[in-house]
């Protein structure tokens, strides 16, 4: 009996130490969670491009983890000048003002040019063909109204925790936005 007693004490001491350290860990995890729970938000965040910062460098087309980038060009029609000679649609030195492939900027032919009334043309993006390279965006913002711009399309984006395009974005235009407002659309009355 005398031999067993210290053995019991030892086990108790170890148990006590174990539960003490366990409580400490629990306190640590719980404390961190509690600290952040107050500042956390119920909804998830998604990635989006701020079109007013974006410089249309072309990284969106090549750096997305998806084979076909989740970034596509979108068109704010209300801002468009419907130009005959659209610098977003055409090479700066076009041979003629028509839809000939030699005149077009878009490498995949994703922009459709349709006549509305003289001398106005409507430009629509075929999203299936767009690869998000931003050549048209660059052309449009250089000389036109800037109505073409790049956006992360959320039907395609897999919402990586660390967006590979964001890591490669030279102008740091990528940001996390609340999932309830997943787009940053260009608007005519935006204050620069």
């Amino acid at each position: 009996m005398a031999l067993e007693k210290p053995e019991d004490n030892k086990i108790n001491r170890r148990d006590w130490l174990g539960s003490g350290l366990r409580s400490l860990c629990l306190l640590g995890v719980g404390g961190t969670a509690g600290l952040l729970a107050g500042r956390s938000q119920a909804q998830n965040t998604v990635w989006q491009i701020d079109p007013y910062i974006c410089i249309a460098c072309g990284n969106c087309a090549t750096h997305c983890v998806l084979d076909e980038s989740a970034v596509k060009c979108v068109h704010a029609f209300a801002m468009c000048g419907y130009c005959d000679l659209c610098t977003g649609f055409m090479d700066p030195q076009p041979d003629a003002i028509n839809k000939g492939a030699e005149n077009e900027l878009c490498p995949t032919g994703a922009i459709t040019r349709t006549f509305v009334e003289d001398p106005y043309y409507q430009y629509t993006i075929d999203e299936k063909l767009c690869n998000g390279c931003g050549k048209c965006v660059k052309g449009c913002s250089k000389m036109g109204n800037g109505s073409l711009f790049l956006q992360v399309r959320h039907d395609r984006c897999v919402n990586c925790n660390e967006c590979a395009i964001a890591a490669a974005c030279p102008s740091q235009a990528f940001k996390r936005v609340p999932a309830s407002q997943p787009y940053i659309m260009k608007e005519a009355d935006h204050a620069e």
């Binding site: 419907y82 590979a164 659309m185």
Partner: protein
């Protein structure tokens, strides 16, 4: 002729630019087509709805409960394996690997250090739940829930034994990885755990060549070395090991008395089963061990200080992980004439009109953070190394084969090989099971 026409058009166009700028904010005022023209709508497809987040957390919670039940109570490898395959398909291939508890370390760190970043509740739940479950039930998360563990577990065909010294040394890499990930997340530089996630490219069946090669290497090595990422790299595994060390319940190989057959040790692919210690140890060697232990305790502060000194001296190269630091260095080179061309980054920065002095001041602050962080990271790594040496020098008596509290991944392979366990199942079900053919 064409050239001439282009010139005329371009000159008209420039005229348009200037008059447009004078008239209003548009270079080319949008025309008014009248009511018959229908302006096409710019679509905004919504992100996946919020119920996905709720479903993810529910599945995680259910899987953790089941994993604890299967590893501790049911004690059957087949159950654990089935749950593991389900989680591999759900969290891996269906939900495409994001967000996972491993990566959530960085979100939590960023939220702790940057008050402008708010962490979503789903990420917080993914960080906390596995840790709390491990604190009570051991590493059931690693066994059956984590898709990264699962994909390595299914390719493990012919495990070799990693020598003990190598296993302990490689295990320290995970601390370096965790420390670096926390440093880069805290300074807002990068999420390196996600950037170098080896298996996410497989889950999505697309990704850059680097990702696929890295993941492929891990899978090829993983055919012969049990779960190399989990054991030697996983930064979340570091936290789970700590929690598992103090877990309330743990994996016990044998349900009754150990018969010392060491079959379990032979079958464990992760080197997580400890052998019984010899009965007699000469007092001479014990004396020597005590001296060594005392020396290691004295060495500990030196290790911490050295680590801190070394890593804080690397703060300048480390700080280049931050985009602003890279930008400032580039701007400096351009302004001093060291490079003649410009890059997209510097062009974009100059276009914003932000004063360069402000950028330099910001970068000084970031570099300062890296110096402080370097001391902390180095000190932490020194402490880890010291604690590892001390732990290896501490003698603890064991009479039976036991699963290591921290390293056991609760995969349940040893249950199938324990003759006592098999006998018990036989007795419980009262059916004849033919063992060993």
């Amino acid at each position: 002729m064409t050239q001439l026409r282009t010139k005329i058009i371009l000159s008209v166009l420039f005229l348009g630019v200037f008059t447009g700028a004078a008239l209003g904010q548009f270079n080319f005022p949008p025309p008014d087509f009248g009511p018959e023209y229908v302006m096409p709508e710019t679509t905004t497809p919504p992100p996946q709805s919020g119920w996905h987040d709720i479903a993810d957390v529910t599945v995680l919670l259910a899987a953790l409960i089941l994993a604890a039940y299967f590893t501790l109570k049911k004690r059957r490898r087949s159950y654990i394996f089935t749950l593991m395959i389900f989680c591999l398909i759900y969290f891996g291939f269906w939900r495409e690997g994001c967000v996972c508890p491993i990566g959530s370390i960085q979100n939590i760190t960023l939220a702790l250090f940057d008050s402008s970043y708010t962490v979503p509740l789903v990420v917080l739940a993914f960080f906390v739940l596995p840790l709390v479950f491990t604190l009570f039930f051991g590493r059931g998360f690693c066994a059956a829930v984590c898709p990264l563990g699962a994909i390595q577990d299914v390719v493990l065909i012919s495990p070799i034994k990693v020598p003990s010294w190598l296993q302990h040394s490689l295990g320290l890499l995970a601390y370096v990885y965790l420390g670096a990930a926390v440093l880069f997340a805290a300074t807002g530089s990068a999420f390196i755990i996600c950037e170098y996630d080896p298996f996410v490219a497989f889950f999505r069946l697309s990704g850059s060549l680097n990702m696929l090669v890295l993941g492929g290497c891990f899978l090829v090595v993983g055919m012969f070395v049990g779960r190399p990422y989990c054991r030697f790299f996983c930064p979340y595994g570091v936290l789970l090991r700590l929690m598992s060390r103090f877990s309330k319940w743990k994996v016990t190989i044998t349900p009754e008395e150990c018969v010392q057959c060491h079959l379990c040790r032979e079958t464990c692919p992760f080197g997580a089963i400890e052998t019984p210690t010899p009965e007699n140890i000469s007092t001479g060697s014990l004396q020597r061990d005590k001296f060594r232990l005392a020396a290691l305790f004295l060495l500990l502060p030196i290790l911490i200080a050295t680590g801190g000194f070394l890593v804080s001296n690397m703060s300048v190269p480390l700080s280049r992980m931050h985009a602003d630091v890279r930008l400032a260095e580039r701007i400096y080179l351009e302004d001093t004439g060291a490079v003649l061309d410009t890059v997209d980054e510097s062009d974009a920065f100059r276009a914003t009109g932000t004063p360069i002095e402000q950028l330099y001041a910001d970068v000084d602050i970031i570099r300062g953070k890296f110096t402080t962080g370097g001391w902390l990271l180095g000190g932490f790594l020194g402490l880890v190394l010291g604690a590892k040496l001390i732990r290896l020098s501490v003698y603890r008596r064991r009479s039976d084969y036991q699963a290591h509290r921290a390293y056991c991944l609760a995969c349940g392979r040893c249950y199938e090989y324990c003759p006592v366990h098999q006998e018990k199942i036989k007795a419980d079900t009262a059916t004849v099971i033919k063992v060993g053919g």
